[in-house]
Symmetry: C2
Subunit: 126 residues, 2 copies
DNA sequence: GATACTGCTATCCTTTGGGATAGTAATATC
DNA sequence: GATATTACTATCCCAAAGGATAGCAGTATC
Protein backbone atom coordinates (compact mmCIF):
# COMPACT_ATOMS: atom_id res chain seq x y z
CA UNK A 1 0.00 0.00 0.00
CA UNK A 2 2.98 2.29 -0.37
CA UNK A 3 3.08 2.65 -4.11
CA UNK A 4 0.69 5.51 -4.59
CA UNK A 5 -1.67 3.17 -6.40
CA UNK A 6 -4.70 3.78 -4.30
CA UNK A 7 -7.90 3.20 -6.18
CA UNK A 8 -6.90 0.22 -8.29
CA UNK A 9 -9.34 -1.99 -6.51
CA UNK A 10 -10.40 -5.41 -7.67
CA UNK A 11 -13.53 -3.83 -9.08
CA UNK A 12 -11.53 -1.53 -11.34
CA UNK A 13 -9.23 -4.34 -12.40
CA UNK A 14 -12.18 -6.58 -13.17
CA UNK A 15 -13.59 -3.87 -15.38
CA UNK A 16 -10.27 -3.48 -17.18
CA UNK A 17 -10.01 -7.22 -17.75
CA UNK A 18 -13.54 -7.51 -19.07
CA UNK A 19 -12.94 -4.61 -21.43
CA UNK A 20 -9.69 -6.14 -22.63
CA UNK A 21 -11.52 -9.43 -23.31
CA UNK A 22 -14.13 -7.67 -25.41
CA UNK A 23 -11.65 -5.63 -27.39
CA UNK A 24 -9.68 -8.79 -28.04
CA UNK A 25 -12.48 -10.68 -29.77
CA UNK A 26 -13.55 -7.58 -31.71
CA UNK A 27 -10.00 -6.61 -32.66
CA UNK A 28 -9.06 -5.46 -36.11
CA UNK A 29 -10.41 -3.02 -38.57
CA UNK A 30 -13.22 -5.09 -40.00
CA UNK A 31 -14.98 -7.43 -37.57
CA UNK A 32 -17.59 -5.00 -36.31
CA UNK A 33 -18.22 -3.77 -39.84
CA UNK A 34 -18.86 -7.32 -41.03
CA UNK A 35 -21.30 -7.91 -38.19
CA UNK A 36 -23.12 -4.67 -38.92
CA UNK A 37 -23.51 -5.65 -42.57
CA UNK A 38 -24.72 -9.14 -41.72
CA UNK A 39 -27.33 -7.81 -39.29
CA UNK A 40 -29.39 -6.96 -42.38
CA UNK A 41 -29.28 -10.50 -43.72
CA UNK A 42 -26.87 -13.17 -45.00
CA UNK A 43 -24.28 -12.23 -47.57
CA UNK A 44 -21.87 -14.10 -49.77
CA UNK A 45 -18.11 -13.70 -49.81
CA UNK A 46 -17.82 -11.52 -52.86
CA UNK A 47 -20.80 -9.50 -51.73
CA UNK A 48 -19.07 -8.69 -48.47
CA UNK A 49 -15.88 -7.88 -50.31
CA UNK A 50 -17.66 -5.38 -52.55
CA UNK A 51 -19.40 -3.76 -49.59
CA UNK A 52 -16.23 -3.35 -47.53
CA UNK A 53 -14.68 -1.44 -50.33
CA UNK A 54 -11.00 -1.71 -49.48
CA UNK A 55 -10.76 -5.17 -48.00
CA UNK A 56 -8.68 -7.83 -49.72
CA UNK A 57 -9.83 -11.45 -49.89
CA UNK A 58 -7.05 -12.59 -47.62
CA UNK A 59 -8.08 -10.23 -44.86
CA UNK A 60 -11.80 -10.84 -45.29
CA UNK A 61 -11.20 -14.58 -45.14
CA UNK A 62 -9.21 -14.21 -41.93
CA UNK A 63 -11.82 -11.97 -40.31
CA UNK A 64 -14.63 -14.37 -41.22
CA UNK A 65 -12.71 -17.32 -39.79
CA UNK A 66 -12.17 -15.47 -36.52
CA UNK A 67 -15.82 -14.43 -36.40
CA UNK A 68 -16.78 -18.05 -36.93
CA UNK A 69 -14.48 -19.22 -34.15
CA UNK A 70 -16.17 -16.81 -31.77
CA UNK A 71 -19.61 -18.02 -32.84
CA UNK A 72 -20.62 -14.67 -34.23
CA UNK A 73 -20.99 -15.88 -37.80
CA UNK A 74 -22.12 -19.09 -39.38
CA UNK A 75 -20.74 -20.23 -42.70
CA UNK A 76 -23.00 -22.18 -45.00
CA UNK A 77 -21.78 -23.84 -48.19
CA UNK A 78 -24.28 -24.48 -50.98
CA UNK A 79 -23.67 -27.14 -53.53
CA UNK A 80 -24.39 -24.92 -56.50
CA UNK A 81 -22.20 -24.50 -59.49
CA UNK A 82 -19.99 -22.68 -58.94
CA UNK A 83 -20.16 -23.22 -55.22
CA UNK A 84 -21.71 -20.40 -53.20
CA UNK A 85 -20.96 -19.70 -49.57
CA UNK A 86 -23.25 -17.69 -47.36
CA UNK A 87 -22.34 -15.98 -44.12
CA UNK A 88 -24.93 -15.06 -41.55
CA UNK A 89 -24.83 -13.88 -37.98
CA UNK A 90 -25.75 -16.14 -35.10
CA UNK A 91 -28.06 -15.26 -32.23
CA UNK A 92 -24.96 -14.82 -30.08
CA UNK A 93 -23.83 -11.96 -32.30
CA UNK A 94 -27.00 -10.14 -31.28
CA UNK A 95 -25.57 -9.86 -27.77
CA UNK A 96 -23.12 -7.38 -29.27
CA UNK A 97 -25.93 -5.01 -30.18
CA UNK A 98 -25.55 -2.78 -27.08
CA UNK A 99 -21.88 -2.29 -27.95
CA UNK A 100 -22.54 -1.60 -31.60
CA UNK A 101 -25.38 0.77 -30.83
CA UNK A 102 -23.37 2.72 -28.27
CA UNK A 103 -20.47 3.01 -30.72
CA UNK A 104 -22.79 4.24 -33.44
CA UNK A 105 -24.59 6.73 -31.22
CA UNK A 106 -21.41 8.18 -29.79
CA UNK A 107 -19.83 8.52 -33.24
CA UNK A 108 -22.90 10.31 -34.50
CA UNK A 109 -22.97 12.88 -31.72
CA UNK A 110 -19.19 13.28 -31.83
CA UNK A 111 -19.28 14.15 -35.50
CA UNK A 112 -22.08 16.64 -34.87
CA UNK A 113 -20.07 18.18 -32.07
CA UNK A 114 -16.99 18.58 -34.23
CA UNK A 115 -18.99 20.22 -37.00
CA UNK A 116 -20.48 22.56 -34.40
CA UNK A 117 -16.99 23.45 -33.19
CA UNK A 118 -15.83 24.16 -36.73
CA UNK A 119 -18.78 26.46 -37.35
CA UNK A 120 -17.98 28.45 -34.22
CA UNK A 121 -14.32 28.71 -35.10
CA UNK A 122 -15.35 30.06 -38.47
CA UNK A 123 -17.47 32.74 -36.87
CA UNK A 124 -14.68 33.98 -34.64
CA UNK A 125 -11.54 34.44 -36.75
CA UNK A 126 -8.37 35.60 -35.01
CA UNK B 1 -28.24 -1.71 -58.77
CA UNK B 2 -26.67 -4.59 -60.64
CA UNK B 3 -23.83 -5.45 -58.29
CA UNK B 4 -25.59 -7.77 -55.90
CA UNK B 5 -25.11 -5.19 -53.14
CA UNK B 6 -28.69 -4.88 -52.09
CA UNK B 7 -29.09 -3.79 -48.51
CA UNK B 8 -26.23 -1.32 -48.26
CA UNK B 9 -28.56 1.56 -47.74
CA UNK B 10 -27.55 5.00 -46.57
CA UNK B 11 -28.69 4.02 -43.10
CA UNK B 12 -26.29 1.12 -42.97
CA UNK B 13 -23.46 3.21 -44.36
CA UNK B 14 -24.15 5.97 -41.85
CA UNK B 15 -23.92 3.43 -39.06
CA UNK B 16 -20.62 2.12 -40.42
CA UNK B 17 -19.20 5.61 -40.66
CA UNK B 18 -20.25 6.55 -37.14
CA UNK B 19 -18.72 3.35 -35.80
CA UNK B 20 -15.50 3.99 -37.69
CA UNK B 21 -15.34 7.52 -36.23
CA UNK B 22 -15.70 6.16 -32.71
CA UNK B 23 -13.13 3.43 -33.14
CA UNK B 24 -10.74 5.98 -34.58
CA UNK B 25 -10.66 8.24 -31.52
CA UNK B 26 -10.52 5.26 -29.16
CA UNK B 27 -7.88 3.44 -31.19
CA UNK B 28 -4.91 1.75 -29.64
CA UNK B 29 -4.41 -0.60 -26.80
CA UNK B 30 -4.53 1.86 -23.92
CA UNK B 31 -6.94 4.77 -24.33
CA UNK B 32 -10.02 3.14 -22.87
CA UNK B 33 -7.99 1.71 -20.04
CA UNK B 34 -6.64 5.15 -19.14
CA UNK B 35 -10.14 6.59 -19.13
CA UNK B 36 -11.44 3.76 -16.94
CA UNK B 37 -8.67 4.39 -14.43
CA UNK B 38 -9.25 8.14 -14.40
CA UNK B 39 -12.98 7.69 -13.82
CA UNK B 40 -12.09 7.00 -10.18
CA UNK B 41 -10.18 10.24 -9.79
CA UNK B 42 -7.13 12.14 -11.07
CA UNK B 43 -3.82 10.34 -11.33
CA UNK B 44 -0.27 11.37 -11.96
CA UNK B 45 1.95 10.14 -14.78
CA UNK B 46 3.95 7.60 -12.82
CA UNK B 47 0.83 6.46 -11.05
CA UNK B 48 -0.80 5.65 -14.38
CA UNK B 49 2.35 3.97 -15.57
CA UNK B 50 2.41 1.69 -12.52
CA UNK B 51 -1.27 0.84 -12.92
CA UNK B 52 -1.03 -0.02 -16.62
CA UNK B 53 1.62 -2.56 -15.83
CA UNK B 54 3.22 -3.02 -19.23
CA UNK B 55 3.04 0.46 -20.67
CA UNK B 56 6.24 2.34 -21.45
CA UNK B 57 6.52 6.09 -20.79
CA UNK B 58 6.72 6.83 -24.49
CA UNK B 59 3.46 5.11 -25.22
CA UNK B 60 1.69 6.50 -22.16
CA UNK B 61 2.80 9.98 -23.10
CA UNK B 62 1.44 9.58 -26.62
CA UNK B 63 -1.87 8.17 -25.44
CA UNK B 64 -2.33 11.01 -22.96
CA UNK B 65 -1.59 13.60 -25.64
CA UNK B 66 -4.18 12.09 -27.93
CA UNK B 67 -6.72 11.88 -25.12
CA UNK B 68 -6.06 15.56 -24.40
CA UNK B 69 -6.53 16.46 -28.06
CA UNK B 70 -9.93 14.79 -28.05
CA UNK B 71 -10.91 16.60 -24.84
CA UNK B 72 -11.23 13.43 -22.84
CA UNK B 73 -8.44 14.28 -20.42
CA UNK B 74 -7.18 17.48 -18.87
CA UNK B 75 -3.54 17.85 -17.92
CA UNK B 76 -2.71 19.98 -14.89
CA UNK B 77 0.83 20.95 -13.95
CA UNK B 78 1.58 21.77 -10.32
CA UNK B 79 4.52 23.90 -9.37
CA UNK B 80 5.79 21.55 -6.71
CA UNK B 81 9.30 20.27 -6.43
CA UNK B 82 9.80 18.09 -8.26
CA UNK B 83 7.01 19.12 -10.59
CA UNK B 84 3.88 17.01 -10.45
CA UNK B 85 1.44 16.59 -13.30
CA UNK B 86 -2.10 15.45 -12.78
CA UNK B 87 -4.43 13.94 -15.37
CA UNK B 88 -8.16 13.95 -14.95
CA UNK B 89 -11.09 13.17 -17.17
CA UNK B 90 -13.33 15.89 -18.54
CA UNK B 91 -17.13 15.89 -18.51
CA UNK B 92 -17.00 15.00 -22.19
CA UNK B 93 -15.27 11.74 -21.36
CA UNK B 94 -18.36 10.80 -19.37
CA UNK B 95 -20.26 10.59 -22.66
CA UNK B 96 -18.20 7.47 -23.33
CA UNK B 97 -19.73 5.70 -20.34
CA UNK B 98 -22.37 3.80 -22.36
CA UNK B 99 -19.62 2.40 -24.57
CA UNK B 100 -17.36 1.49 -21.68
CA UNK B 101 -20.18 -0.08 -19.75
CA UNK B 102 -21.38 -2.15 -22.69
CA UNK B 103 -17.82 -3.34 -23.33
CA UNK B 104 -17.40 -4.29 -19.69
CA UNK B 105 -20.73 -6.07 -19.45
CA UNK B 106 -20.25 -8.02 -22.63
CA UNK B 107 -16.72 -9.06 -21.62
CA UNK B 108 -18.00 -10.27 -18.29
CA UNK B 109 -20.74 -12.45 -19.73
CA UNK B 110 -18.46 -13.68 -22.52
CA UNK B 111 -15.90 -14.90 -20.03
CA UNK B 112 -18.61 -16.62 -18.00
CA UNK B 113 -19.90 -18.26 -21.15
CA UNK B 114 -16.48 -19.57 -22.11
CA UNK B 115 -15.90 -21.00 -18.65
CA UNK B 116 -19.30 -22.68 -18.89
CA UNK B 117 -18.34 -24.18 -22.27
CA UNK B 118 -15.07 -25.50 -20.86
CA UNK B 119 -16.88 -27.16 -17.96
CA UNK B 120 -19.25 -28.93 -20.34
CA UNK B 121 -16.42 -30.07 -22.58
CA UNK B 122 -14.76 -31.51 -19.49
CA UNK B 123 -17.85 -33.51 -18.63
CA UNK B 124 -18.10 -35.07 -22.09
CA UNK B 125 -14.70 -36.45 -23.06
CA UNK B 126 -14.35 -38.10 -26.44
C1' DG C 1 29.32 13.83 -4.89
C1' DA C 2 26.27 9.77 -5.78
C1' DT C 3 21.55 8.63 -5.74
C1' DA C 4 16.63 9.33 -6.03
C1' DC C 5 12.47 11.50 -7.43
C1' DT C 6 9.28 13.64 -11.09
C1' DG C 7 7.73 13.62 -15.94
C1' DC C 8 8.91 12.99 -19.53
C1' DT C 9 11.90 12.61 -24.69
C1' DA C 10 14.96 10.05 -27.94
C1' DT C 11 16.47 6.16 -30.30
C1' DC C 12 16.15 1.69 -31.77
C1' DC C 13 13.94 -2.53 -32.75
C1' DT C 14 10.28 -6.06 -33.20
C1' DT C 15 5.71 -7.43 -33.94
C1' DT C 16 1.34 -7.13 -36.02
C1' DG C 17 -2.10 -5.61 -39.15
C1' DG C 18 -3.19 -5.47 -43.32
C1' DG C 19 -2.56 -4.20 -48.51
C1' DA C 20 -0.96 -5.88 -53.51
C1' DT C 21 -0.68 -9.29 -56.67
C1' DA C 22 -1.09 -13.74 -58.44
C1' DG C 23 -2.91 -18.23 -58.61
C1' DT C 24 -6.21 -22.41 -57.88
C1' DA C 25 -10.39 -25.82 -58.87
C1' DA C 26 -14.43 -26.70 -61.17
C1' DT C 27 -17.73 -25.57 -64.39
C1' DA C 28 -20.26 -22.82 -67.79
C1' DT C 29 -20.45 -19.85 -71.42
C1' DC C 30 -18.89 -17.68 -75.85
C1' DG D 1 -10.02 -23.18 -76.24
C1' DA D 2 -10.22 -18.53 -74.06
C1' DT D 3 -12.83 -16.29 -70.60
C1' DA D 4 -15.73 -15.74 -66.63
C1' DT D 5 -17.47 -17.04 -62.26
C1' DT D 6 -17.10 -18.27 -56.97
C1' DA D 7 -14.45 -18.51 -53.00
C1' DC D 8 -10.70 -18.56 -51.71
C1' DT D 9 -5.07 -19.41 -50.61
C1' DA D 10 -0.17 -18.10 -51.12
C1' DT D 11 3.47 -15.01 -51.19
C1' DC D 12 5.46 -10.78 -50.60
C1' DC D 13 5.75 -6.44 -48.64
C1' DC D 14 5.04 -2.10 -45.99
C1' DA D 15 3.64 0.99 -42.40
C1' DA D 16 2.10 1.66 -37.87
C1' DA D 17 1.86 0.19 -33.09
C1' DG D 18 4.19 -0.34 -29.49
C1' DG D 19 8.11 -2.40 -26.47
C1' DA D 20 13.27 -1.83 -24.59
C1' DT D 21 16.65 0.98 -23.08
C1' DA D 22 18.80 5.22 -22.13
C1' DG D 23 18.92 9.88 -20.93
C1' DC D 24 17.68 14.72 -19.21
C1' DA D 25 16.43 18.77 -16.03
C1' DG D 26 15.91 20.19 -11.52
C1' DT D 27 16.08 19.55 -6.72
C1' DA D 28 16.65 17.04 -2.37
C1' DT D 29 18.59 13.78 0.38
C1' DC D 30 22.36 10.75 2.20
Amino acid sequence: MSTGVKHITSECNGALNAIRDTLYVLSGKWKIQVIVLLRDGPMRFNELQRSLVDITPKVLSKELRELEMNEFVERKVFNTVPVTVSYEITPYAATLNPIIDSLREWGTQHRARIIEHMKQDGKQPA
